[in-house]
Symmetry: C2
């Protein structure tokens, strides 16, 4: 090994203190620091007054947020970056602060306290996995918190799969907030959506469908997506952020079951974090595998080659890939 640059422990320190970044962002969202700056507060004193926080604590937090790249600083005055204004101020339609309620909820974060054990055993050390196998309150939290994060991919999928004016029966699997099926129904007035999920979660989907003006074309089938009778004759099946919880044989078997519910030529749309074949890039899809290791028995962030193989093994053809603006990818295939 040739030494070409001076040794540096910087990556070690930055990484070991990664948890502070999480904590700082969480506090900034809780205190509405970004919203305060958007409203015109720029000094530690003014931001602190708006947020009910000390000037000293606000100054230290805001300096940290500058260091991370969420704010800029000039003399003692802070300003938002473009992305902070778009994603972190409450009046913005793309506000994502609410997703922290799910993404940093107790059970999800606590999974990582046992990461070493999960690595030893290859998954969480329980008979089933600890978040997906039973009706879990975490999914109702998920359904309410994740709408802002999923609005953009939902619109993108609707654009890719919709025939604007053909009768379309849509099966929205593990629908959660229902946004994916709702987006298709909004774009195509002849689309009718059947949403499948646990009963408590479906109340969120039903609320959202009514609020978004498609309640009369939105119905629900409560139950376990692996076993419930969801009928047949669908033109389109949506499987969004679902396959990553399960191992390859489970995914393949599930896709076979989905294909049996589609008309010949019907389509499936799969939304996933899809890392490159090296599994180490891009950063967010690659990192998602660790989330699944910590939280499921056999889940993963599947590569395009793996998703294609699963779909083909389940009888699908014509597999195509559509990268979205954001960290996820849509994969479309034909029954």
């Amino acid at each position: 090994m040739t030494t070409t640059v001076a040794p540096s422990p910087e990556l070690f320190f930055t990484t070991l203190w990664g948890y502070q970044r999480t904590a700082a962002l969480k506090s900034a969202v809780e205190l509405e620091v970004f919203t305060a700056i958007q409203e015109g507060a720029t000094t530690p004193e003014a931001i602190g007054r708006r947020c009910g926080a000390s000037a000293r604590g606000t100054r230290i937090l805001c300096d940290y947020l500058v260091m991370l790249g969420f704010l800029t600083k000039s003399a003692d005055s802070y300003a938002l970056t473009q992305d902070s204004a778009i994603f972190l101020t409450k009046a913005s339609p793309a506000y994502m602060g609410g997703t922290l309620k799910f993404l940093l909820s107790g059970p999800i974060v606590a999974n990582h306290e046992f990461l070493t054990t999960a690595i030893r055993e290859g998954g969480v050390p329980t008979a089933g996995d600890n978040t997906v196998s039973v009706e879990n309150p975490v999914w109702e939290e998920f359904a309410r918190a994740m709408v802002p994060m999923m609005a953009m991919p939902a619109q993108a999928i609707a654009e890719i799969v919709s025939s604007p004016s053909a009768p379309t029966r849509v099966l929205d699997i593990a629908a959660g907030h229902g946004i994916f099926g709702i987006a298709v129904a909004q774009r195509n007035p002849q689309a009718r959506v059947v949403a499948v999920d646990w009963p408590r979660v479906l109340t969120v989907a039903t609320e959202n469908a009514a609020a978004m003006g498609v309640g009369d074309r939105h119905s629900t089938v409560p139950g376990d997506a692996f076993t419930v009778d969801w009928g047949a004759g669908y033109d389109l099946a949506l499987i969004t952020n679902f396959l990553h919880h399960f191992d390859v044989p489970t995914c393949t078997g599930f896709l076979r079951r989905v294909r049996a519910a589609l008309v010949p030529g019907g389509r499936v749309a799969v939304l996933e974090f899809v890392p490159n074949e090296d599994r180490t890039s891009p950063p967010i899809p690659a990192a998602f595998a660790l989330t699944m290791l910590a939280g499921t028995k056999g889940g993963d962030a599947y590569t395009m080659a793996e998703l294609t193989a699963m779909l083909k093994d389940a009888g699908f053809g014509g597999v195509t890939r559509h990268d979205l603006q954001g960290p996820e990818t849509v994969v479309i295939a034909h029954a």
Copy 2:
């Protein structure tokens, strides 16, 4: 605001998942993944065998470590970066893995669960601060864990302050592991060190002084550095990683007390995380202010201007700055 690049939530996601980076590094050190690769294991199967971990969990962890920059990957084979080999393999003299025992110990990490409250109140919401004000077992852990991290700055300080062959009386304040005073004694055979700290911590300093061959020139004064009688007539006082726990008036008063213990012309060496005057760079010193906000009543990462003002207010002169290889800075002044 002009939009010049497409909006991206990437920084938001990367930051909110920062805690996973901490967890992954901690698991990799616990499982000795870096050491396993150094010893010749390169595939998930081989590394897993050496570490007592599943191939699946090892693969996902190692891919994540590649994404972070700790490893490289070629086909299914992982390799160490230069810095990982130096700082993260157990046979390396600069191995830093042991510092996680202190830096990620329960009480330190738990501070950040109450970060929002600390920001509201400007420090931890107790009468004193929660780590420094009393004899706390965390400092014994600190003393044992931090030697590898402090070996390099200790050597650097010894080099800056030592007259290799003049009688020198050294006061090593909040000595902890004792490494800073020991390094001076190793370099100057006529130096005699008095180490001040809580009694339990001083047992570690005494052990280290003996092990490092300077036990006969190393004595201890147990007690609170703010009140204990440590004598007078010192040529050199070492105040390493101590001032950041306290507010400016406390630091200034403390420096005055140190100056009174020095001979005229005696020197003080202060080791600190010193951010630039913008307080937002470089990343590690700037971030350290948040650690102090979360863990102390009034501590901070002080800028060079602030440290200089404190030293001058306490009667010191000839203040000079010495940046080290690593995230900390030495500030020297004359009594």
